[in-house]
């Protein structure tokens, strides 16, 4: 028995030695942890990020030169599991993090990474709390409040109706955050808010909110909310034969995927998103084709954000001379230097991005409009 154990141990040691030597032979690679919920209720977002990252890594590795190795960690949208996934990835040699996908885990891991001095770039955790007070955490997506201001600017800048009603969820930080910044910006850019109504997660009847918008004569209704209540609002408005311009934010992304949803209700709905899968530029077409090959689905914004995140991390690493032997602490300082440098700019599928020391991204959102059940770019 003792002998078998010894033999096993020897075999294992040999196997490890061989594995290590084969790494040494391969081209130099940086190691990026991809953390997100790959199972559970939020799995749709985590998996989108994972596949987006995989496609970016494959493309980079096919070019030769510095390679990218991904370590994927499932956090089930749970802060504790996310910290475990993060620690596990660091133990396995991760030098930087593409994650976390969702806000709550991202805040937890961000605090830990700030202490450990590990660089984090989240593709999709959109709360300001993710980056506030942490010099090493950056975002690819807009912060929630930024969406409100950007929406107001877009509406006034593109000749859309300026008599606006707002219906938002006052039990939800995401929705109220966007509402507040929209409201502040609306005054500056000449948007007249004629009706403001609220609902909560338990609301089933939206007739009052829609009636208020209709009676106030609103020509555009701004919906800084998720797609489920939005689908009910559209249905209610149809019953009242009220047809304003509907303008949503990224939470509206997904409305066409509700099972059984009559997509004709969403006809003409506009939403502000930095990514539109039917854009015709070469970069987007390439990404969408590869994503469809890999998963059979059309990529959403999360996938695109994560794809850009890997490119951003890679480009910054190349610029800063980070390679497989750089420690996570050194890599962190070098990457912060890159991301905050005024010359650092990433042209990704979600637009042209720059960052400042706050960790928040600057990019131009585009609006898409739903026509015949698909998103098409809006030219206003």
């Amino acid at each position: 028995m003792k002998n078998t154990k010894k033999i096993l141990a020897v075999i294992l040691v040999m196997a490890m030695a061989m594995a290590m030597s084969s790494f040494a032979l391969a081209e130099d690679a940086i190691t990026i942890a991809v953390i997100g919920p790959f199972t559970g209720a939020a799995a749709i977002y985590g998996n989108s990020c994972r596949y987006g990252a995989q496609i970016a890594a494959e493309e980079i590795n096919a070019q030769g030169g510095l390679q990218v190795k991904l370590i994927e960690g499932d956090d089930v949208h749970d802060p504790e599991k996310s910290i475990n996934a993060y620690n596990n990835a660091l133990d396995n040699g991760a030098q930087m993090v593409d994650g976390c996908t969702t806000t709550t885990p991202c805040i937890a891991v961000g605090a830990q990474a700030n202490e450990d001095r590990v660089f984090m770039l989240t593709p999709s955790a959109s709360s300001e709390d993710v980056v506030n007070g942490k010099d090493n955490v950056f975002q690819v997506c807009f912060t929630d409040p930024a969406q409100g201001a950007a929406s107001a600017e877009y509406i006034s800048g593109h000749g859309l109706p300026t008599k606006v009603a707002i219906i938002y969820n006052n039990a939800d930080a995401y929705s109220t955050g966007i509402y507040q910044t929209f409201k502040e910006k609306a005054g500056e850019v000449g948007i007249e808010v004629v009706s403001e109504t609220t609902f909560t997660d338990e609301t089933t009847d939206f007739s009052v909110q829609v009636t208020a918008a209709k009676d106030a004569g609103a020509e555009l209704v701004f919906l800084p909310i998720y797609y489920t209540p939005a689908s009910m609002i559209l249905q209610t408005a149809k019953g009242m034969e009220y047809a304003p311009v509907w303008f949503g934010v990224d939470g509206m992304d997904g409305i066409l995927t509700i099972e059984g949803f009559d997509t004709s209700l969403a006809e003409g709905v506009m939403l502000l998103t930095p990514f539109s899968a039917d854009a015709q530029d070469e970069q987007t077409v390439n990404f969408v084709t590869k994503y469809k090959e890999l998963t059979g689905e059309i990529p959403n914004q999360f996938a695109a954000d994560s794809y850009d995140a890997i490119y951003a991390l890679y480009t910054a690493s190349v610029n800063a001379g980070i390679d497989g032997s750089t420690s996570p602490e050194d890599a962190c300082e070098l990457l912060i230097g890159q991301f905050t440098s005024p010359d650092f700019k990433i042209e990704g599928v979600t637009g042209t991005m720059t960052w400042d020391a706050s960790g928040m991204v600057t990019k131009t959102p585009t609006a898409v409009v739903i026509e015949n059940g698909v998103y098409v770019g809006f030219n206003g």
């Binding site: 909560t200 089933t204 009847d205 007739s207 009910m232 249905q235 019953g239």
Partner: protein, 294 residues
């Protein structure tokens, strides 16, 4: 004025849905003297069955409603037989907690079977809408049918409990279980029957609810269930016309409160009304005042 009418009609429509759900609560309470908190979740199951029958099997709406009624009736009888019957002699608190357990059980089973992503329930009615005041006031077919269904169900139930043998047995059990048993009434079968009728009503309520408010997910039944329970207490729990009036009033108060006071306070107003009614009329609007036996 037109918008007031519109709110009133919306309120009656919402109230009718509450009323149909409340009828289920009130029947079970009146006869079995227990609060079936799983009632809201039976509604959700009914809506899912109807959804699946239409969406996946391509059955016509009427057949899907019947299918939902059959499944829910069976479900109601099974729940009663497995979960509540063994507790017939137990303290009412045990039964109440069991009912909450059944409610969570149904929600989680629905989560396993149908997943957490919401589904969009396509209305089972496709008759046109009525337009009044030059199109200012649109009454949808869902609204009209919900109100009509509510009236039909109430009349049918009143006739059933008043005229039929089974109905009389139900009233007897409700008055005094022990005496009814001595008179040769099968109490267990009567209570099963009550659950069967209550659950069939729940199936109809589910279809009505989701036709008017189309998002369907495993928690769809819980909030309307609680509101309908409030309506049943409001009208006097155990009383069939009480449930009807309570449901309608609650719907109208909710909508008018949201429209004229504040959208943020809509639900708070509903529950505040409940507290006020219970302070002044503890048995509800149409409930029989009960004397405690000493």
């Amino acid at each position: 004025m037109v918008s007031f009418l519109r709110f009133l009609i919306n309120g009656i429509s919402l109230g009718s849905v509450y009323a149909v759900i409340a009828l289920g609560y009130t029947m079970v309470y009146g006869i079995a003297k227990m609060l079936n908190f799983a009632h809201g979740d039976v509604i959700m199951v009914g809506a899912y069955i109807s959804y699946c029958a239409m969406q996946y099997m391509g059955l016509p709406p009427i057949v899907s409603v019947l299918a939902a009624m059959v499944v829910c009736t069976a479900l109601g009888v099974i729940i009663e037989g497995l979960a509540y019957r063994p507790l017939r002699q137990a303290a009412s608190l045990s039964v109440l907690i069991t009912a909450i357990g059944v409610s969570y059980f149904l929600q989680n089973v629905a989560l396993l079977i149908w997943g957490s992503n919401p589904k969009n329930f396509n209305s089972v009615f496709s008759v046109g809408a009525i337009r009044l005041f030059g199109g200012e006031l649109v009454i949808t077919s869902e609204t009209m049918l919900t109100i009509a269904a509510n009236i039909v169900i109430m009349i049918a139930l009143t006739l059933f409990t008043g005229r039929t043998k089974m109905g009389k047995a139900m009233r007897a059990v409700s008055e005094d279980k022990g005496a009814a048993e001595l008179m040769g009434i099968n109490v267990n079968r009567t209570i099963s029957m009550t659950f069967a009728i209550g659950s069939a009503l729940a199936a109809i309520a589910g279809v009505l609810l989701c036709s008017a408010y189309p998002t369907l997910q495993p928690t769809t039944g819980s909030m309307p269930g609680i509101k309908a329970f409030t309506a049943a207490v409001f009208g006097g729990i155990g009383s069939i016309p009480g449930a009807m009036i309570g449901g309608l009033l609650l719907g109208v108060i909710e909508i008018l409160g949201k429209a004229y006071i504040s959208t943020e306070l809509g639900d708070a107003l509903v529950f505040a009304m409940l507290i006020i009614v219970l302070l002044f009329k503890p048995a509800g609007l149409m409930g029989k005042p009960m004397r405690e036996k000493v």
